[in-house]
Symmetry: C2
Subunit: 491 residues, 2 copies
């Protein structure tokens, strides 16, 4: 060894001043808690002024900047122009609201910074425990496997990959679909989430292989049409392999008749995947549980913790009944990943064998801490509370002549519009879109929107633990105010 | 409105005691900073005792538990049994070490909790800025597009999906590969990372469609074999569409001749994807930049911030030269995701149009804060420092008769073994595996392993900003000690 080389001063990325970093951390904790504590007092959203937009055009930093000064820049330019889903009146798309302890858990996770792809360490045991809890929550058998993923899109992709690979009648991992002896086809309703369509494309099955069937007046899959489609495909020499049942569609929160779908899958030998991104969690409420009856018969379930369990982004979950099928769909072990008997390279389960990611963050911690903080019973009550709020909003809409409900309200989503018999549907579409944009711009509330039977709908999806009934009173009041004003003086 | 209903007490998940949560947050900050500040003083890894293993078998929590008590349980059971990659002597697989400010950034991100799938808010502008910085770092054109993803596996999958879809001579999103008029085939070396093989499977191309070509003595793709394979495939009526170039292979950190690969792609009309999970970042060091020369000619690049940029998990990045091809591969806009002109539902770019995830966390913040904290020049120096350390370790190995270098050291990975001419290769394989497990178990260091020409190699991959030269002195000393002891008294 060369003594001269050993005294070379080496750099690292740790703080020069650890106490300074502690102090900054305290300040962040204080100010972020206040940010959440006072969120109701601020507008839910506001547009970014030019100087903020310009700020995000600064070039790649060459030289170091003090952490305090970076944080100051953050404070000035970021939280005031947030998306708004921490606010009690955010009901756009299907987006959760997060919690303070969940956010702190992400700090702990990032400090420990394990790679959850595999290995023998506490994080991996904790993820296994969270998976076990998930199975218990949704009535899935203990022997099932699971994986925490980035969200519903990935959870659906995992479930459908296992479905495709387990049901293929050839060596699909080796040969791919390029030499498929028949067209593999699968089924869902035309209300199915876009992530399933994107999965069909990604997996090389193609969008046309996913047969999107019509729905009934409750926006649930038309079972006769489904049966007919399966027959037709078989007659044509295609190979039906899977049905996707929806537990909570994104437009109207409809849930397919999951028991009937399970029956058909059993009879036809099809894989039964349930996309329950938010709706699966209805299982936590004793009153709502029946809506998702049959889900426990699925071969795979996709759901999110960051939606209706209010855990901060990102964390979803895929559960698969047949652990071996799950492993066989994804496991690929090159020599540099071979397991060892002892040491870090051992470990009861390598989660990278069950999904796409090899490097994986410590998502499990925020779920684990959240479930302990509140207990599963409270989650059941909060989910029920959101559904009660949806029914409350629907009742307000029904009472108002100036408002019109556009779809049934089976769960937590309300689609309605400002209505007037003096205006055509086309004019109402334009007017309601303007109402929605003004609700955002004036910082009042953030519903999103969809099209129901060609009509623009203001869409209120309630996966928000901070919402109170008075928030829906306000929404109704403001929609009527904006609607009347716009009807008198169009934008 | 019903006044009685309005006074109903509704629950939420916010703390009853905000100051208590602040206090707990301070404690977490203090103790986690100390955890990192003192990491060098602790063993890098230790096995979990039975009571810890049992702890993670507790059933689903039904009732609430105080946050302080959850944190106590965490402290007792989790950080002491961490993977160890925050430690200065962690060189297993290719795993980054994280930073204190990066961890705090994840707390800020989770507090704000935006969904980065789309919309008009500061987070999305920041991600756009981080993508722009990434292009600048790697010499990619300003017009290129990009996406922050969970890591290298997903970044490769994004790049290869765009490659597959852009090069397909039929409507692949609609029809899939089930009716492909020819077999689409692509190329890489047999040292390519497993994530590329898994991507071939997932995309429905099949593993056999990815032609894995032999390497030369430097573990770089054999260009003659590649040219011959392309010719052979064309003769057979197959359709070559892509070459994957490796910038830093996982076994030995070899980098293919990227300029020659770019030439072949240009001539043959193939998509050029560079898997630069860690190696791409050699571009940041003036001395190392030449190794990845040609990378800037790629159609797509995959790389990680959580490996050689030391940002906490998870964050990787996919860059795509042709923005339209990127968008066309992934964008799918159902009515409930249609963009609006104003309000939250506007926004310059919806990142969900460029990848698989619709719900997306605020990964951008930790990258943004880290790049500002240190400036890109320092990252270049640290990457160079890790390479210098690899060469230093290689020089130590070369000097020791009891050690043998098993592969060239072109970058930051050293594959070596304890050697003795008294033992067969088979015996040495067993002995070196035992050495590795003892290095872990005794808490000394965490290299991983691979097989080089049938020989078990202790593999040291240096993407660790906390490592110092003395750590490699210690490693060499301990490998010799363990090797001699085991040679005298086998396990």
């Amino acid at each position: 060894m060369d003594a001269i080389e050993r005294v070379t001063q080496e750099e690292n990325l740790d703080p020069q001043d650890w106490d300074g970093m502690r102090k900054l951390g305290h300040r962040m904790v204080d100010e972020m808690m206040t940010y959440l504590e006072t969120v109701r007092e601020r507008p839910i959203w506001q547009p970014m002024p030019d100087d903020v937009q310009q700020f995000f055009k600064e070039p790649l930093p060459q030289k170091p900047q003090a952490p305090e000064s970076i944080y100051e820049e953050f404070l000035k330019n970021v939280p005031p122009y947030n998306m708004g889903n921490v606010h009690p009146r955010f009901w756009g798309w299907v987006i959760g609201s997060g919690t303070p302890l969940g956010a702190l858990a992400d700090f702990l996770a990032a400090t420990m910074n394990p790679n959850m792809g595999g290995g023998n360490h506490a994080g991996n045991l904790m993820e296994g425990q969270v998976i076990n809890w998930s199975k218990e929550m949704l009535g899935f058998p203990k022997e099932a496997s699971g994986l925490l993923v980035s969200g519903g899109s990935m959870a659906n992709l995992v479930g459908l990959t296992v479905a495709r690979n387990a049901k293929a009648k050839f060596n699909i991992r080796e040969e791919g679909l390029q030499k498929a002896p028949h067209q593999m086809v699968f089924y869902s309703s035309n209300e199915t989430h876009s992530s399933n369509i994107k999965a069909a494309e990604l997996l090389g099955l193609g969008r046309e292989a996913l047969r999107l069937l019509p729905v009934n007046s409750e926006f649930e899959i038309n079972l006769d049409a489904l049966e007919e489609a399966i027959k037709r495909d078989k007659r044509s020499g295609h190979y039906p392999f899977c049905i996707i049942g929806n537990a909570g569609t994104v437009n109207t929160a409809a849930t397919d008749d999951l028991n009937r779908l399970a029956d058909i899958c059993e009879r036809e030998g099809l894989w039964f995947h349930v996309d329950g991104a938010f709706g699966a969690l209805a299982a936590l409420s004793p009153q709502l549980k029946k809506i998702v009856s049959g889900m426990e018969r699925a071969d795979s379930i996709a759901f999110d913790f960051h939606k209706w369990m209010y855990v901060p982004y990102e964390v979803g979950c895929a559960l698969v009944r047949d652990k071996k099928a799950h492993y066989d769909a994804f496991s690929y072990v090159p020599t540099y990943l071979a397991k060892h008997e002892r040491g870090v390279a051992a470990g009861p389960v390598w989660f990278s064998d069950y999904g796409i990611q090899l490097s994986r963050g410590f998502r499990a911690l925020k779920v684990w801490m959240s479930l302990k903080e509140h207990g599963i019973e409270k989650y059941g009550r909060l989910i029920q509370q959101n559904v009660d709020q949806a029914h409350y909003l629907a009742s307000l809409v029904r009472k108002e002549k100036g408002l019109e409900l556009l779809a049934p309200v089976p769960l937590n989503i309300v689609c309605f519009r400002y209505a007037s018999n003096k205006l055509s549907d086309q004019a109402l579409n334009k007017l309601n879109q303007e109402i929605l944009m003004r609700l955002h711009e004036e910082g009042i509330a953030v519903p999103s929107y969809t099209i129901i039977d060609k009509n623009y709908a203001i869409r209120v999806a309630i996966t928000n633990h901070r919402s109170e009934r008075s928030d829906f009173d306000l929404l109704v009041h403001e929609v009527l105010r904006l609607g009347k004003a716009l009807q008198e003086k169009p934008a």
